[in-house]
């Protein structure tokens, strides 16, 4: 395989904050690869390190097998299209595009020929003498792309190039970018937070979150076979549900059993299940029906209708269908085994390490929690806290520690929240209460909420 760029064990921190952790990735020559993730996931940092504007703390970036660290940006054979165009306002369109060629001392005639050619490619032929500030956003972006590709880089880096454009223009530019990629045969590395854009444009999508690669795959793979809840939730709409693998090819969720195609999870193992809303089908045939539900809401979305249904077992599911079903009606539903995506659970509970303070208290996350451990003071312990046993409070003073709602997942009958504490640690919470992303919460423990107990064991016992 022809790898043009190889990234090995790359890490980067800004101050105390880890922005990228242990990134491993290779990029094939000529492919269109997209780094996709929510804002703050580290995708732009990764791009800036490839461009040379930032130096990695650890790890290496190889281009054609040669280490790039220490090579300053102006000597790297790649060019960047910036999010806010970054055209030079004091130069006209022609001089902007010719900037790189003039620095390389390319003969004047050659420059003129090449500038004309790229202007034609980006459909801006008559704009040579225009002042760049007189151009619209879309036109400026075309010039920015022209300015980069005129240098015939081996790799073109694009940092959310379409983010500032309106929807219609963005769609048109997407198609043009895709065509340009085909015509030029240059490797494109594209950064975006727009999952639809990523799926439309890319040969390969790299999904990033919290500085880590979540999944690498083709758009179809990423959509149909997300590896975890984050990817499933981030890419497209999905029903994410708690499930249990009964045996190979048989899974239980929403208190029903379904045939599926997944194997190798073991027997009676807790899993997460993803079902896309367009993969739940209505039927009138009682023999086909796997479960019944009542339509709760039905909204027209242009091409399809989006319906929320309450299952006979008390779960809420989203369904997309071309035909509407009246609100309040009883419907029969089924899911194809192919359309059930089973994922390994990332964690079964919160696992924290701390020390016993006294008979009634354990110090965890630098705070004192009232927990009876039965161990001597000073003992180092591992505490396993069920998701339900973490209690969130509106009033920060009621909590033992404070945090912020970081990520919300609706699991059909409850919310699974990721809470980031003030110190940057993560806790996961199952709750029926509705919180918004970014809400500040007080955190304490409430073992009575949970069917399972908080389990405290000696840390060294665990190590053995």
């Amino acid at each position: 395989m022809d790898k043009i760029i190889e990234i090995k064990n790359l890490s980067k921190s800004f101050g105390d904050k880890k922005v990228l952790e242990d990134i491993n990735l290779y990029i094939r020559r000529g492919e269109f690869i997209t780094l996709l993730g929510p804002s703050g996931c580290g995708k732009t940092t990764l791009l800036r390190m490839i461009a040379g504007f930032l130096q990695p703390d650890e790890g290496s970036i190889l281009m054609d097998g040669k280490e790039l660290a220490g090579v300053p940006p102006h000597e790297r054979p790649l060019n960047t299209v910036f999010q806010r165009y970054a055209l030079f306002p004091h130069l006209d369109v022609y001089d902007n595009i010719a900037f790189g060629l003039k620095l390389k001392k390319v003969p004047e005639e050659e420059i003129e020929k090449r500038v004309r050619r790229v202007l034609k490619l980006v459909a801006m032929s008559d704009y040579e003498d225009r002042d760049v500030e007189t151009l619209s956003g879309g036109q400026q972006q075309r010039i920015a792309i022209a300015r980069a590709i005129v240098n015939q880089p081996k790799v073109l880096l694009l940092d959310e190039p379409l983010a500032a454009l309106d929807l219609k223009m963005r769609k048109d530019m997407q198609i043009e970018l895709k065509e340009m990629h085909k015509k030029l045969g240059i490797t494109f590395i594209y950064v975006t937070h727009d999952q639809e854009e990523a799926l439309t444009l890319s040969d390969t999508v790299v999904v990033l979150n919290e500085g880590r690669i979540q999944q690498i795959g083709t758009p179809v793979d990423i959509y149909n076979e997300p590896v975890n809840c984050f990817v499933a939730d981030f890419i497209g709409e999905s029903n994410i549900l708690k499930g249990r693998m009964i045996r190979d090819r048989r899974v239980a969720f929403i208190k029903h059993e379904f045939d599926c195609v997944d194997e190798g999870f073991g027997e009676d193992v807790k899993v997460d299940v993803v079902v896309r809303p367009e993969d739940i089908y209505f039927t009138t045939d009682p023999a086909k029906c796997q479960f019944k539900a009542k339509v709760n809401s039905c909204i027209f979305k242009g091409v399809h209708y989006e319906m929320w249904v309450d299952t006979d077992t008390g779960y809420e599911l989203m369904i997309q269908d071309y035909d509407p079903y009246p609100v309040g009606s009883e419907v029969m539903l089924y899911i194809d085994p192919d359309d059930i995506q089973v994922m390994k659970k990332e964690r079964l509970c919160n696992t924290l390490y701390g020390t016993v303070k006294d008979a009634e208290t354990v110090t965890l996350l630098d705070a004192d929690f009232p927990l009876k451990s039965g161990f001597e003071p000073g003992t180092e312990v591992k505490v396993e806290i069920p998701f339900e046993a973490v209690d969130l409070m509106d009033n920060l003073d009621d909590g033992i520690i404070d945090g912020e709602v970081h990520f919300i997942l609706y699991m059909g009958d409850h919310y699974h929240l990721t809470i980031k504490t003030d110190d940057g640690d993560f806790l996961w919470v199952d709750t029926n209460d509705i919180w918004d992303k970014g809400d500040l919460v007080g955190i304490r423990l409430n073992p009575e909420n949970s069917k399972k107990e908080i389990k405290i064991t000696k840390k060294d016992e665990q190590a053995q």
Binding site: G52, P73, F99, A148
Partner: protein, 268 residues
């Protein structure tokens, strides 16, 4: 009625502001030794000023020359220093940036007299012989913060990716600075230069303490000494009038240019 008083107010204000200037301008056209007595129209004072054959102290022209020379050198050097400093501060982060910005603001708030005395003491302590060099150094010291202040907003307005775009296209940091950064900062640097020039031009306190004993005079110290000797040199009147006219014309030009620029931008 309300309108009438509003208008009256502004006219009274303008008269109070400009009366002294007009007064001097009128009396620059008479040859009297003492300001205030009219001895018939004459342009002799202007002629004297140009030929250098003064009624009063003839070192006036030397003082003017010193003033302009010092202001030009101080403004040029502080524009250079201030611009570089602004770029540096702009690229700093967090607390360090705040601290340096704060330090930059202190000399501007600090009374001139304190700047002057402390510089004087510093030069004495270092055994610097005071003269041209010390005055210029002192002026650079108090002008530089103003340049920093007028370049900073340009840096903040600038698209932060522009410099990187230049590097990305193959420019070395020096070339990127010359071909991209400086053209972007030029308006701020020009206004910084003008600001520094005028600050230096009318400084008295700092110059007074750092000029030493070699008899170096700028316009302000000249007038001070002259006034103490009894009466101002009559040629000062045409000189003041000319300086005022030059400033007025400069201001008008700047305003017209700005108008044109903003109209150009609107038309886009």
């Amino acid at each position: 009625m309300k309108k009438f008083f509003a208008k009256l107010y502004i006219w009274v204000l303008l008269v109070v502001l400009y009366a002294p200037l007009v007064f001097i301008a009128i009396f620059s056209f008479t040859e009297s030794k003492v300001l205030g007595s009219w001895e018939g129209f004459s342009t002799d004072l202007y002629r004297n000023l140009l030929t250098g054959q003064m009624q009063g102290n003839a070192s006036l022209l030397a003082a003017v020359k010193n003033t302009v020379l010092i202001a030009l050198v101080a403004a040029a050097v502080s524009t250079l220093l201030g611009s570089v400093a602004a770029i540096g501060i702009h690229n700093m982060k967090g607390r360090a940036k705040k601290a340096v910005t704060f330090l930059n603001n202190i000399p501007m708030i600090n009374p001139d007299i304190i700047t002057g005395v402390s510089l004087f003491l510093l030069f004495v302590f270092l055994h610097f012989s005071q003269g041209y060099l010390t005055v210029i150094l002192a002026h650079i010291t108090f002008c530089t913060p103003y340049v920093v202040l007028s370049v900073m907003p340009k840096l903040q307005q600038m698209n932060p990716n522009i410099y990187e775009a230049a590097l990305d296209l193959g420019a070395t940091p020096q070339v990127a600075l010359r071909k991209v950064l400086i053209p972007q900062l030029r308006p701020g640097m020009v206004s910084g230069f003008i600001l520094a020039f005028t600050m230096s031009l009318d400084d008295f306190a700092v110059t007074f303490f750092t000029r030493g004993t070699i008899g170096l005079d700028t316009l302000s110290t000249y007038i001070y000494t002259d006034a103490r000797k009894g009466g101002l040199t009559p040629e000062l009147r045409p000189l003041m009038t000319l300086i005022f006219l030059v400033v007025l014309i400069l201001l008008i030009i700047i305003n017209i240019r700005q108008d044109r620029l903003s109209k150009l931008k609107e038309n886009r």
